[in-house]
Subunit: 371 residues, 4 copies
């Protein structure tokens, strides 16, 4: 884990490094221009073992060679890092993340536990960067040296990413969404092959509630200097599991405050260049939203890795009139990259760039980018 | 093709007998109590060949042994049959079916060509048996000795079957439906494995139009003695192809004239016993609709063959409140059985039972049933 | 669980009734002419619960309605049954089965624990019914009132079934076999969808050892009145897991004592009518082996349920010369029916018919069959 | 199609550019250091159309933008190119390739038509670069200004690649191979999803013949200055189609002249650094063979893109003793990259480097590499 160059990077740890999302963090952090893994943490059962021995690597390509011999640590403050990425299960994430934040770490979490806390940002850098101001409130209220920032659920992420430029211009009022979600969204071993081969399962525990009642409304809500006032559109969600490895596909129908033309919607997507893209954050796809005009796209296999940073963009297509609401279209995005580890990673990049990790980290990042 | 017993049955032919739907007709007619295959017809290219030579049998189990040596005939009137089941492609079905009807045959068609003709019944026996009266009008207007009756598209069939008992009691007003359709719906060879393995294709040509504008409204329309007045609810449909062999799964949200309770909806499904079931038609499932209360059902693999006549029932489940409309639920049904060949077959049974093939055929059917 | 008729049947219990193989036992015993389930046993964790509550039913069709309310018992002698079918995992099967046998039950086991015991029959009724004589030796040596009989591993079952009529006539000398095994062979949840979707896994723990060193040689061995002298042909096995739900497909090359013609091999398969078929045992398929002459068969989807008792026959095809050995061909069979629960069930039928459960049971079975 | 830099590259054309293999050629030639596409040719039906209009692009990522507007030409000499890559179907490849070779083009073909011609090299650069000398004989005998060189069938390629270093050291004598081949090997639309979902098809037309009688023996044969004397080992092959998108997996058992230790085999693979790797050809993977010591590898999903040039390496694993022959192991390789387009491309690179396209092309390539 020695630094690969003369200039040292920002030290980061991964909590839950052996699981499916943990592996994605490790994969995406490999060769990252700003961050360097200095600690891998896992459950008590795995702590003390070599990473290569405790982790059943399940991604294409091999485990990064220089991490094979790293000894896994327990998920407790004391590790050598400034930022920790949390891929912990909900059963333990709540307390562990709070402990790290209290101890001064910047916690970028993919777990759902703190997403709906009033003083914790639920963040998509393209969508609601101003919500980061909650970090100051969080620190003040809780007396923490560090902080927690979270990214939304995989299905919500791409839905809201596609809606954001439309919401800004036309105001989302009503929303139907039916998801067809990939098996990797359930982790590993996750979905039994006996349940999904030649089948669709029309139920994913807790998923519809997240999409209908909480996440889109918080993400598209307005920060008034004190708190986030939730957006008040209505969402109806049906969530399904399909036999696809990666990539959540969503059929969306939407009604706006005022009905825009199809051309206006396409324009809103194509002109979309939010802060994360303006800042050229290392993991920010350029552009953030890809509009595919073909009549049968997006498709998971063909489009889940589309764009300048594979797996980070949201792909939209099949825009057409909706007989009930105004318009309908399809949304696709990679669920374990942008929808999980990549979401946390981009959050961390924004956090560093905006100075929430301190001016030194921000300056270091800027210098590394230039280099 | 000799009769298996002393009493002869009603003679039927299959048009397009070598294709995917044609094979289903042949499979479902095997051992039918009323009907006996006396002619198999195919394209010019196949006519003159043995059925076993021209047909690449693709269903589980072997081709019925007694049909292997049958010589395929061309799709022209003159064959020895009273009813013909049409599994013809849309490119040829229009004219061929009209020729058969003009020549005195009762044509039960799965093709879309005549579905929307004003004087042709688009029929689901449980839903709109009174539309059969269009046959008299059709014969009178066209001067045909025979007639054409059609069954709806596979996706529409199960959607409307699930809605019918609700529409009768509560009045459907608005409808949102997203389908996840099986590959067999595209016939054989149909969908390339390169397109669908590890993928979902969010487009099926012409499917959304059928579901939004025509079929549900005609099926649930009122026959006023002269014509069918289309029902006027609004439908929004998204149609998708998923890597499932058989069984179309549909996510449905619906708004009624007045909001019923969930219990009232379940009761409407469970008390549903329409004419086809009262008549005990041989292919009518008992009950017509199966309500599954488990939170993760229906599923294609587990439920597509559920019920008393495998593949003929419609399965519903996951009933829950919808934040935008009134209720949401899932609908599942077998697409090549009830959604295609089985739909035509049940239509033919109702037609015979109601006397549209003449009193002798009706009496024969009754006698065969008793035996 | 009351008897469905006036005549009572032979009482049977199922050990491990909630698992994948246990469910198959329950499914296959439904409506069995000789046997009636009088006890369902499961792990300590499930004992005391209703079967419907403890068991996540995973087979097509619903759990038999009359068993839903049955209270699960622990896997200990004392249950009301003469025969127990064991679907226990290897971790507990060894001792539990021995306890039942000692207590007087006839144990028909699908577990591997006792398969290779010198005094325990490893049985395929068509192949080595004379090995049942080991039961007498077993009882004498172990002082047991009951006994244990086992069926082979799923891959071995169909391989040896296909070889048996050839071995009898031509003498198998060398054998090369590569399996492509279905996911259901690993139970439930078994194989993660993450591991097998769009993939093949070229490793199944312990499988090659069973096929190379033990099972085929014991099954085709000769019982000399005291013991089974193992057949001494050599087997090379490669075992693979493929994304197929049910049905193990095996590519086989074989060398005999003397090279038979292809016609002689086909004749041996087609004339095959061993004891189980002669006795007309209820679960014995007629015929035992199906030879399919098409160039691209057998295939799992099309052939796994072929024959008179679905899932119980072995299907062979693609017979052709082998450049290295004598002949090559494909073997297919259902792995959780004949390869597991159905194998044990047919064993039990032979055991009853041959009088190993006592003359009363044999007489009862005979009377039930006649009725 | 303007050159991307100041230095012009070697001009190449693609015959059959719209098909599955043709698209791979286009994809792999994008950004190639030596070659630049200057002509895309297709069937009469497509000639004259824009590439974007005539080609249903099926690979991940979009069609190269600068080729979208290229007008497709007919497959006839006259195009502006020195090398043509042939992805033509066997029905037309024979004559068309000969016409191009006669007219002075270097034809690098993936078609099977000329593979077994005595004076045409069947080439894997790592295995038999000395067979390129056949080009001189071919030109002399046929009076051609150009030439044809071919690459083997996808299944043969990786099998022989894995065997070559062993054959050199230990001498292959007998060989069993059972393939589990990906659907992409059949092109597009190729295998119907109806045939392969939840299934294995144990038959691929002509495949076993190629592997048993011709290709391995020619590839590993000795060029004696006049002709290739075929190696004389015996091969038994079973070929199967499995529901995997890309990557052919092969179970291999082999007997050598003398039995090497397992360590010696691993060493032979690990020390393997043939000419193509020594020359650092742009598409030559480093190393050519990847040995994976895990007990359950290689697997198509995890390993088909392994190595320094994705899809070009051969991956071996699961080495263990074989009870019948000497050793058994698994071989995996990408079938449409190294097994098709990539094989032809690497052949072309060797041909250029060895001067068969003339000294200028060789010098140009060398200069481009340095740059």
């Amino acid at each position: 884990m020695a630094s690969s160059g003369a200039v040292s990077k920002i030290k980061v740890g991964v909590l839950g490094a052996t699981g499916a999302v943990g592996q994605r963090f490790v994969q995406m952090l490999q060769g990252h221009p700003w961050f360097e893994i200095t600690a891998l943490c896992a459950s008590e059962r795995s702590a003390g073992k070599r990473y290569a021995d405790a982790c059943n690597w399940n991604l294409r390509g091999d485990m990064p060679a220089h991490l094979r011999d790293v000894i896994l640590q327990e998920c407790e403050p004391g590790i050598d890092a400034q930022i920790v990425f949390s891929a912990l299960p909900a059963s333990t994430a709540g307390e562990v993340e709070a402990a790290f934040a209290a101890a001064g770490y910047g916690v970028c979490s993919n777990a759902r536990n703190h997403r709906y806390d009033d003083d914790v940002p639920l963040l998509i850098p393209e969508v609601n960067p101003e919500h980061l101001a909650l970090i100051d409130i969080q620190r003040r209220q809780r007396g923490w040296a560090g902080f927690i920032a979270t990214n939304p659920n995989c299905s919500t992420t791409h839905l809201v990413s596609a809606l954001h430029p439309l919401h800004v211009r036309f105001g989302v009022k009503k929303l139907f969404v039916v998801t067809m979600q990939a098996i990797s969204g359930a982790g590993y071993p996750g979905v039994s092959s006996m349940d999904i081969l030649d089948n669709v399962v029309p139920y994913i525990g807790g998923e519809e509630e997240k999409m209908e009642q909480k996440e889109p409304q918080k993400l598209l809500g307005v920060f008034d200097g004190q708190q986030v006032r939730y957006a008040d559109f209505v969402v109806s969600a049906h969530c399904n599991r399909v036999p696809v490895r990666n990539g959540h596909l969503e059929a969306v129908s939407v009604e706006f405050e005022e009905r825009p033309s199809e051309a206006a919607i396409v324009q809103a997507w194509q002109e979309y260049r939010p802060l994360a893209q303006q800042l050229n954050l290392p993991s920010a796809p350029q552009p953030a939203i890809l509009y595919n005009a073909a009549q049968d796209r997006p498709q998971p296999r063909l489009d889940r890795l589309a764009g300048s940073v594979p797996g980070m963009a949201t792909v939209v297509g099949r825009l057409r009139p909706d007989p009930l609401l105004h318009h309908k279209f399809m949304v696709l995005g990679h669920n374990t990259i942008r929808g999980a580890a990549g979401g946390s990673l981009l959050n961390a990049e924004l956090i560093v760039a905006q100075g929430y990790l301190g001016p030194e980290a921000a300056a270091l990042a800027q210098s590394l980018e230039v280099a």
